[in-house]
Subunit: 214 residues, 2 copies
């Protein structure tokens, strides 16, 4: 698969790109600044030994990708996504965005839409938006030599789009679980606030979540 | 400890009461209807073989308890808690309340305060409110012969109150984790929406959550 990662120069986006490159996918790193994207792509090619990692502007990455992953900061969606709207038409778009505000009165600060994934869907109305990969610590993604101890929670309206995201998770060794419709994205994204708090309180970098039962 | 459980005739409240009675605590089941509370208390005495389980009106249970557990429906807080306000002054109050709306457009429906625990704190301003025990399936609580496969996430402003809730968790074999301030109660309560969805999709009654890392 050709996977575009908007905001792919960030820790989470770059970590996902590295894992997927190692799993055999072609990665299109997107950034506001195409030169920064190219530099990050070169760094990831070096790190993974995989040649199929390239850098582009965000909209160009979205055009070239078969799947588009949105790994932008929560506050940057409205500025960045409209230029990618046409490129995302009909495509599976995976939002990994977490609406957290550090240093404010409240860590979890979802937008009026209810969640960042729902905001992505509102900005890309013709895309098949799925929320996933919020809980996989960047620190774990970059440590590519060991397995990630975290389940993959996937939510969205489109069952086939969810299955695509689940397959992307399996390709990096994660167990995917269907966490329901996109209206569950708020609770799914909120788990990241709990994990970030636990990381701080217990001096960790890599707390994760496992669902018991299934 | 003498533990009052407001809404203790419900599945979750009664399940917690049974587990705590078996751990050696005295349980005061509270209900709007003192007779229903007395009947549930008799049933739990029979089930657990523990004599120290009694039934009362909610306000009376709150007065008698050293710790007050709020296991009411999310929509019933404003109607029930004001009459218990004086009785809860200075006490540790544990909110297990989850703001879920089944059959509507959105499962997770927190109140304007941000979470049910924050609504409890607003209604009981002199109480030391903690959010906890949202994820322990009633089905698991009632199966008192086996250990519960779920971590206990505790949030709140008062460190000593949190420690009390953590100790209540340890007394039923749970591993407690500090999930931060009461402003994290929304994300903590939201996890129940994810678990309820997974229960439905995977035909389970007892999904739970484990935090990896700590």
């Amino acid at each position: 698969m050709d996977i575009a990662i908007l905001g792919g120069t960030g820790k989470e986006g770059a970590g996902l790109g590295a894992r997927w490159a190692l799993a055999g996918h072609a990665i299109l790193i997107g950034s506001r600044d195409a030169e920064r994207a190219a530099a990050k792509a070169a760094e990831l090619r070096e790190r993974t030994g995989k040649p199929s990692i390239t850098g582009h502007g965000n909209a160009e990455a979205a055009r070239r990708g078969e799947i588009v992953v949105v790994a932008l900061p929560a506050t940057g969606l409205a500025a960045t996504l409209p230029e990618a709207r046409e490129a995302c038409r009909g495509k599976v778009v995976v939002s990994t965005v977490v609406p957290l505000t550090f240093g404010g009165p409240r860590l979890f600060t979802p937008p009026p839409a209810g969640s960042s994934a729902e905001e992505v869907q509102a900005l890309l109305p013709e895309a098949r938006v799925v929320g996933a990969f919020h809980h996989i610590a960047a620190h774990e993604l970059s440590a590519t030599e060991h397995a990630i101890e975290c389940d993959l929670l996937v939510c969205g309206a489109d069952a086939a789009a969810k299955e695509t995201a689940m397959e992307l998770g399996r390709s990096m060794g994660l167990r995917p679980l269907d966490a329901g419709p996109l209206t569950n994205a708020g609770p799914v994204e909120g788990i990241t606030a709990v994990l970030a708090t636990i990381n701080r309180r217990y001096k960790l970098k890599n707390s994760g979540i496992k669902i018991t039962g299934p």
